[in-house]
């Protein structure tokens, strides 16, 4: 038998079809796909977003646009409104950071270890999701008031929690805790052990393994949980008003200011503050999404 020549090999190779439509580039409305249902799901998405989110929010913007620019600016950026924004966004940021810090070890303990009472701890983590926020607010307020259990201990140290910005932070931390824990858990569970073992066999210390291997893999989920806790905190109302004391220029949050304006029948003023919160929140979530996309570039 003779060895096959190059020609034989070429002859055996599958022939390319000459007539082949050039693949379309870029984005088109209609595209052949093995996964049907784009039209239906996108339609439902847009319909529900419009009814529930976009139309009410555009009503807010329309309402605020009804007044002149000068009125809008004076309502939206009065000193009282400004301090309220600062408290709302600042306290939400601090609370989200605290949750990010403590949510990480909490999630780690829940995923990595078995311990008695784990099911109960698991349920407790979810409580802030389910509890009426006003209940949480009243409980926190009475605990941290100067004559409360915790507040009574802190008062001799000169730390006042209830009816100060510190109280706002505590309420928002309570509200945001489950977000970080619950977004981190599934990602931690998916981390494979052999990656850690590989790091160890390459000579990495436990700390190196955590800092260089585990943390970077958790970063996208951590940012997501942080963003959700932050967004929730910015919009939170029920639990905060009981513990904050609501003193203008001091412990008054922006959502409460909106309610106050509404109660005074100043609809345009309330709408102006709402628009500012809307824009700032949107911008921040947008930036956080961009950070997330960067952290996820390898996936």
């Amino acid at each position: 038998m003779t060895a096959p020549t190059d020609r034989n090999i070429v002859a055996n190779a599958p022939q390319r079809t000459a007539v082949q439509a050039a693949p379309r580039r870029g984005w088109t409305w209609r595209r052949r796909s093995a996964i049907p249902g784009f039209g239906l799901t996108m339609g439902v998405t847009l319909a529900i977003l419009s009814c529930i989110v976009l139309i009410p929010l555009s009503a807010v913007i329309l309402r605020s646009a009804g007044q002149g620019p000068a009125d809008f600016l004076s309502a939206a950026f009065s000193e009282r409104a400004f301090t309220a924004y600062r408290l709302s966004f600042g306290a939400a940021l601090v609370a989200a950071l605290i949750n990010g810090l403590f949510g990480l070890p909490t999630a780690w303990a829940m995923v990595r270890y078995q311990f008695p009472g784990k099911a109960a701890v698991n349920a407790i983590i979810d409580l802030p999701f389910a509890l009426p926020t006003a209940v949480a607010g009243i409980a926190l307020a009475s605990l941290y008031a100067e004559n409360g259990w915790v507040g009574g201990l802190l008062a001799p140290l000169g730390v006042k929690v209830a009816y100060t910005p510190l109280g706002v932070i505590i309420a928002l931390t309570f509200i945001g805790l489950p977000f970080v824990v619950r977004t981190l858990e599934p990602v931690m569970r998916d981390l494979s052990h052999d990656v850690e073992e590989a790091a160890a066999s390459l000579g990495a210390s436990r700390l190196d393994t955590i800092l260089r291997v585990i943390m970077p893999s958790l970063a996208p989920a951590w940012v997501t949980g942080f963003a959700m806790a932050f967004a929730r905190g910015v919009g939170e109302y029920g639990s905060v008003i009981f513990i904050a004391g609501n003193m203008p220029y001091k412990s008054e949050i922006a959502p409460l200011l909106i309610i106050i304006e509404l109660e005074q029948y100043d609809y345009a003023g309330a709408a102006a503050i709402a628009v500012v919160m809307l824009l700032v929140s949107f911008a921040m979530l947008f930036v956080i999404n961009a950070i997330q996309a960067y952290a996820r570039r390898f996936a």
């Binding site: 052999d194 790091a199 970077p216």
Partner: protein, 343 residues
């Protein structure tokens, strides 16, 4: 470096994984740990790596007792079946990891690390792919990265846990050759785990065959194939037809065949005949069979069928000896070589 495992015992939840295993791996050797799943081969590898620790026995690196040393202190390279790459790092950072995490005093300079990474990527034929992320590579390429990463620390021993298990047949074959080439180029003592006997026989200098937490036989591929130590090795390494029977006065009878069985004590026994050791026989010799399936596989024709006693058998003939053989044909076969073990 010589590695010695001495009287190793290891159990998982009271289920024994290793039962008094002793094994010595010579400097620069390429050794395969071969066995069915659950035989303890991966456990033995992980004990050597320091990813598990034995209940009894010792692991020695040269004369140094490493039994309880942590994985990070052993300077071993470990390659996992599922690659275990750091997916948030580029290929180059993955390879450099073992050098990056060294203490400042022992860490090479940035330029030296870059140079070493380049060298290693060239060695595994991935030069130019350093900036990619692992998920942008194929399975075979990922395993090459894992290999380069393990070699970067100049390991005293390279350990591979079913390194080709997750790859398709073609890639597996070419990576096998690659591993042999890399082993010959670096000279590093290498142990790899596999359940694929073909892989072990092709690649290794010596093969250690494990079953149920014990070592059945250690030897060169030729030794374990031609001189199996017992029925398990004979049945596991290479295909073999099994015949149950009895030995009386050093003669085995059973399943329609009679064989000389020198040195085998009287009593029930099992005979093994490799498919290529079954040859056409003259009348009065051998046993009758009926062929049910005849398939040509390259230069060899595989014949499967039943003996008159109703036992399944398989025989391999060279193409030219199987001219005109069709399913349903009656043949007379005799073993040209057989292994008889007391049951």
């Amino acid at each position: 470096m010589t590695i010695t495992a001495r009287d190793i015992e290891k159990t998982f939840d009271r289920y024994p994984a290793l039962n008094g295993v002793t094994l010595e791996i010579a400097e620069g050797e390429l050794l395969a740990l071969l066995g069915p799943s659950g035989s303890g081969k991966t456990t033995l590898l992980r004990l050597i790596a320091g990813l598990e620790f034995p209940e009894k026995g010792q692991i020695l690196f040269d004369d140094q007792d490493m039994t309880l040393a942590g994985a990070a202190d052993r300077r071993v390279g470990f390659v996992f079946q599922q690659y275990a790459l750091f997916r948030h790092m580029t290929v180059a950072r993955n390879v450099a990891f073992g050098l990056d995490v060294r203490k400042r005093a022992q860490r090479p300079s940035k330029e030296e690390i870059l140079k070493r990474v380049d060298e290693l990527l060239k060695l595994v034929e991935l030069d130019g792919l350093g900036k990619r992320f692992p998920n942008q590579l194929s399975g075979g390429q990922r395993q090459r990265v894992a290999l380069a990463r393990a070699l970067a620390v100049n390991p005293r021993v390279l350990l591979l846990d079913e390194p080709f298990g997750a790859l398709d047949a073609t890639v597996r074959k070419s990576l096998r050759k690659e591993l042999r080439r890399i082993h010959d180029a670096t000279g590093v003592t290498t142990i790899f785990v596999t359940h694929d006997q073909e892989e072990a026989l092709e690649l290794a200098d010596r093969v250690a065959i494990l079953n149920l937490g014990r070592i059945e036989q250690v030897g060169t591929p030729t030794e374990v194939y031609d001189a199996p130590s017992g029925p398990f090795v004979c049945g596991f390494v290479g295909a073999a037809n099994r015949f149950e029977g009895d030995v009386q006065a050093e003669r085995f009878t059973g399943g329609g065949l009679t064989l000389a069985a020198p040195g085998v004590a009287n009593g029930s026994a099992t005979a093994f005949v490799r498919p290529h050791d079954l040859v056409p026989a003259a009348d009065g010799d051998g046993f009758d069979v009926v062929a049910h399936r005849v398939t040509a596989q390259g230069p060899v024709v595989h014949i499967e069928g039943l003996t008159l006693a109703g036992l399944p058998f398989e025989a391999h003939f060279a193409r030219e000896n199987a001219q005109g053989l069709a399913p349903g044909a009656k043949l007379r076969l005799a073993p040209s070589k057989a292994y008889v073990f007391p049951a």
